[in-house]
Point group: C2
Chain length 142, copies 2
DNA sequence: CGCTACCTTTTGACAGAGTCAAAACAAGCC
DNA sequence: GGCTTGTTTTGACTCTGTCAAAAGGTAGCG
């Protein structure tokens, strides 16, 4: 898979891909922790390098919800979208209705040459909804 | 306008709003420069405070396209979207087709309580398209 | 008009995330 | 096995934004 993309097969890259497979929508630090279990000498910079290379090779995708560090995922090429929890930052995938980019066309483009539409849904995840409901039940709302 | 929102009317705030009116989709530094023309003693932190207050009061909105610092605009309440140039970062408004949030509904919510859909279009602005075309014409593509 | 209370602005230190560059190292080819 | 070139490490640095406390100004009241 790495070889097909013209990248050398190294421990760091294999470990990073494995980590991303188990933990999609992870940031650099999360991947670093996961990779560190097997390769404790790995530096944060290496993770940055690996992830940047994967994105450049089209093997990974980087998303950057407002107010959060960059997150990476291996699911590429299907132009899907994301729903992000406004409270805890949890991210889940949302399938694209049309399946190909751009899945949406703006009413006017202001002279822009359109490439892609990125949709981010914002809401509250199940855990946070439950936590908020519990607080209201306990008598200390807001 | 500030008074209506329960905020005190100060030079800094008036100048910041005026700057935002002339330069929509501006970041903190751009506003600071503009405000600095009339009020040279203004600090970057003050601009942060003012803009944060405006957003909290519902007078401004903050957007944060991936890879760019936060940008602010006065156009609020109509749930419109943005198209961003992938090359130079220029931002233009795009009217929302439905006019109210969420303008889109995901096919599945993964247990999330949906609040809003944010759409960002990515493309190339007219200036950058022209610049790229000119470079191709000159014989040095990419 | 002047005083007081509270909201704003300033100042300065700090944290998070990411970039840049050069040296040390290892994968893949001959 | 040795060489070439791509990777990883190390460490300094930039950019953006946050936190906290002191100084300053606005607005309401007498």
């Amino acid at each position: 898979m790495l070889r097909d993309a013209g990248l050398r097969v190294t421990d760091t890259r294999v470990a990073a891909i494995a980590a991303l497979h188990v933990l999609p929508h992870s940031g650099v630090d999360t991947i670093l922790d996961a990779v560190g279990d097997a390769l404790p000498a790995t530096s944060r910079q290496s993770i940055h390098n690996v992830l940047t290379d994967l994105v450049a090779a089209g093997l990974a995708r980087r998303i950057e919800p407002a107010g959060q560090p960059g997150l990476y995922e291996l699911r590429v090429g299907d132009n899907h979208h994301h729903i992000v929890c406004q409270r805890c930052g949890a991210v889940a995938d949302v399938d694209c209705v049309t399946g190909h980019a751009p899945c949406l066309t703006p009413s006017q483009t202001s002279g822009f040459d359109l490439a892609e539409a990125e949709v981010t849904f914002w809401g509250t995840c199940a855990d946070c909804s439950a936590a908020m409901a519990a607080r209201v039940d306990a008598g200390s709302p807001r």
